[in-house]
Each structure stands twice: as C-alpha cells, then as structure tokens.
Symmetry: C2
Subunit: 311 residues, 2 copies
C-alpha cells in the first residue's frame, strides 16, 4: 500500500509516491511562488498530482508532510514556520480537504529521522538518535519505536542547547547556542568575520577574497592547511558537536546514532571530531552496543519518512 | 486491583501493597544481611509477606521491583548492581518463582519517576523529565507516556554526561562527569578537600573540624555565610546542574520537569540555582507551557512506581 510523502521547504515542495517499504515509486518538485497558505497548498497539490501521474495512476492511502518549523503534536497545525513566515496555519486540515486524503504533518527533521529509521541507517532498531548538521543543527529522538516530539512539538532542538553561557548570538535570538558555533550558517558567518579581520590569508586565497564564496568546506580546507584562525573555529565547532552528541548518547542510550546533513557529509574533519567526541565523552555503558552510522537516504529521507508516517 | 511494589536498596528491601491509584495500603522493610541473590530473594519475600500480612491478606496481582543498577530491558536480569556486587543476576525470574507472581524489574530511578508520573507531581502529563540529585545525579525520561529505558537499559544517566573535558574523576571511573561536581557524595568530597586545605574557617566551624560531619547542607551553609571556597564549589555545582537540566529541557521539551532527591530537597540554594539555570538556559520554545514541580512522594516514589509498573 502506497502513501504520499511531502517535503515542504522554504522555496519548494516535493511530493513522492512511496511504497510500504519506503521505496520512492515516483516524485515531483514544484517551486513555491508565493507563501500564503492557500498558494502553498495549491503547489503541494500540484506536486502531488505530478507524482501520482508519474506513478501511472497508483492509488495512495494517506499523506504525510514534513515541514520546517514547530508543529503542534496532534492537530497538524503549524505553530511557527520561519521559512514561510507562518504562524498557526492548519496545514493538515487545509491539505486534507484539498487532497481528499487524511494528512499527518510533522517537523521535517522528525520526518527525515523516521525515514532513516524504517528505510535507511536505522533499520531494525527501536531506539535511535538522529543528528543532522546542515545550515542548522537539529536532532530527533526515537524511543520505543516512537518519535519523541515533546509536549509542544519542539523536542530535538540540539542546536539550541547552550554551550557557552551568554556566548555568541544565535539566529534564534538566544545566546550561546550550539548552532551559533557549529551550524553551517554560523560556520560561514564566523569564517567571514575571520576573513574581514584580515587575519587569514589562507581563507582569503581559498575564497578568492570573496566572502560569498566561503562555505563550511572552505573553512575546513583552511583549517587543514594550517590556518590558525580557521582551525580555531573548526576545532571549537567539532569539539562542541562531539561533546553535545556524546552527552545525548549518555542520556538516551540509543542502539544507533545516525549522523547526517550537508555539513557532516561534506566536511570529513568535522565528522571525525564528532566520532572522536562520542568515543571520548559518552559514558562507557551507553556506548556498549552503540552503532554509529551515516544517514543513508540523503535528501529523500524526509519525503520517505513523511510518507511512512502516514501509513 | 492491588500489586506489590519492591524497593531494593543496598542495605534493605522495602515492600508495599499498592492500589491502582498508587496508594500504599501496607508496607514493610527488612534489612539485607547478606548479598547473595538467594539471600536477597528471601529478604524480599519476607518483606512482601510482612506487607501482605499487614494488608490483612489482600490479594495482589503482580509485582514490580525497582533496583539500583543497570537492568536489561525486558528480561528482568540485573546486568550490574554495584551496591549489591551483582553481575547478570536474573532477579525477575528468581523472584517470580519464589513469589508465584509475574515480576517486572526496572531501575530504581525509573520506578521513582513512574511513581511521580502516576501518583505524584507528574499526574496528567505524558511527557515528563524527572531529575533526582541525591548522593548521585540521576534522571528519567518519560515520553509518550512510556519510560525511555534505552537500548541497554541505562538511559537517563544525566550524572555521567561530561561537563568538563578531562575534569574531576567520577565514582564511575570516568573524568569530568556532572556527578563528580554536583552529586551529594562529591559535594561532600569537595568540601572535605577544602577543609583539609585549611582555606575555610567557616566550614571548619560548622563541622566542628570533623570532616565526617560535612554534608551538602553544611557546604551550602558555609557558602551562604560568605565562605569563598565553599561558595565556589556550591555555585559551580548549581550552575552545572542548571545548565545540564536546561539543555535536557531544550532537547526533550517535556510538559513537566520534576526535581527531587535529598540534595535538592535539603539545599534550597542549589534548588534555586537549578530553577534559575532552566529559566536562563532552556530555549524559549521548550519553556512555553513547561511546569517545574518538586517531587511529591519522597522515599515512597520507587515503591509506588514499581507497583504501578506491575499493573
């Protein structure tokens, strides 16, 4: 039995027909032109129709949506979606009416983690901790084979745990968040500050003097090339990530730790810091039997997970 | 329908007949004379018989045991119980045979948290984080109305998260654990080190010069009296506890945070640090709707929770 999975980002909606094993049978992607709820619902419906057509008219039973933002646990209401500028949008109800299908809405990270659990690196486990480091730092806890969503639907916000009291300001407005040091956006921001300070010739060379060409990969290359300023930023981020993830392993005692996201995928040095941090700082008992695995589904994890959550 | 709850400590076993609302109908306490599994099973059976007799011959349906140590998730086997010097003792099976009742064995903190959830400060909530600071620092996560026990049964070990890389040695053998700074045993140890250094006349006065008379309360009194060394230990412990608990609130987004244990109960200054830390460092979104409550059941929480887990 197939279901429909939707990945709703800030600039596009993807839809896929997914079978009960988490295989994508057909998919489509449509850009968001405007961000009103009505317009977004239409774009999702378009993407869904395109995926269904590509799937040769297969029947689907239910639809799951993964969306960036804070989602009320049971109602399908999006409390806050910064990318879309939404507050309290009943996306689940609107979409159910438009598609004539029951719709379940979850946070994009929860959808991705659920995808990895059932069709990726988490298969066979019931207690999994999933960490994604991309532009931000997010995580998802699966315990007893269930998503831990939290009372307000915002569980998993590892990026907003505090690592430096009254430290660097984070995009969320608070001070000293892990994400303010180790998220992709903030790795870039710190590298640009370094470039602007004139203290890093290596970084200036790698970026051709253009701050807009700096990525987390550029930063890692500069650190690898021995640039002291770059190395400081890079090592601090790696150390903080490793320590924070290790402490979550100690408290959650998962069977599997799954790591993914653009930054960890493309920056092997940071990934190594995380692995070493877990090794060094997670308690011995929590590491007995722990398997650390890379996320396997890439950008498809959210689509697949959303669809499987609708089963 | 009543069940039997057992609280198995390092020096005694308590047993209680508990009704389905978590009320203790009758209870008994018997000292452990020796620590072989067979002897301990007999002591538990004695305590149970005494509680049942005191209950006037009420019939119980099932027995739950809360025991300090690492418990295998489903088998009732105690993997490690340092207090008893046990390794891989099938307590559940031994006791089931002796009592002629189905027996469920869980970690003592999980039992206590379950008791608070259903008969104490957690009533009505399904997502709760419980922290006990006594001689050690322990916690228990309840998500979706289920205990999060972890793949190896050691979830919740907040005391063994690392707060200082390669810091103070903990009783567990690892370095820099939260418990090494903020657990009751280690608060006392640090205060004794201070006393031995001769740097604290206040502490020397309060303890009458006798290291054995120092408790966490003595330390807090010395800190309150302006003793700089005592204040340093006390503030550091309070700060570390507050930060660690705040970060767990951020990641778990519980509806309720329940705090208890001897140290937090008897040291209002440390309790205040924890409250302020959560206020200052947990993310704003995770604190929306969060209720912080003191544990209500005191020493009975484990007995009650163990019994309710057997229902």
């Amino acid at each position: 039995m197939s279901t429909l999975g939707i990945d709703l980002g800030g600039t596009f909606a993807r839809a896929a027909v997914v079978d009960e094993h988490g295989r994508i049978m057909a998919s489509a992607k449509v850009a968001l032109t405007e961000r009103s709820p009505a317009a977004v619902v239409e774009v999702i419906a378009l993407a869904a129709a395109a995926a269904l057509a590509e799937g040769g008219g297969v029947t689907v039973h239910g639809c799951g949506v993964g969306a960036a933002g804070q989602i009320h646990r049971d109602s399908g209401i999006i409390a806050v979606a910064p990318n879309l500028g939404w507050r309290n949008v009943p996306l689940g109800a609107l979409l159910a009416q438009r598609l004539g299908q029951p719709v379940r809405v979850v946070n994009d990270l929860a959808a991705a983690a659920w995808g990895e659990l059932h069709a990726g690196a988490g298969q066979g486990a019931t207690d999994v901790y999933v960490v994604f480091v991309g532009s931000g730092v997010g995580s998802c806890i699966i315990a007893n084979n269930q998503l831990v969503r939290g009372a307000g639907g915002v569980a998993g916000e590892l990026g907003h745990t505090k690592v430096v009291p009254n430290g660097r300001r984070c995009g969320c407005g608070e001070l000293g968040c892990l994400e303010a040091y180790a998220g992709g956006h903030n790795l870039i921001a710190q590298a640009r500050e370094l470039l602007a300070s004139g203290r890093s010739t290596v970084l200036a060379q790698l970026a051709g003097g253009d701050p807009n060409r700096i990525t987390p990969v550029t930063l890692e290359q500069a650190a690898d090339a021995g640039d002291l300023g770059a190395r400081e930023i890079h090592e601090r981020a790696g150390h903080m990530l490793g320590m924070a993830i290790a402490n979550m392993v100690t408290v959650l005692n998962p069977a599997r730790l799954i790591i993914g996201g653009g930054v960890l995928t493309h920056c092997p040095g940071l990934r190594r810091h995380v692995m070493e941090g877990v090794q060094a700082f997670a308690s011995n008992t929590s590491r007995e039997g722990l398997l650390i695995a890379d996320a396997e589904l890439g950008d498809d994890s959210g689509l697949i997970g959303a669809a499987l959550l609708a089963v």
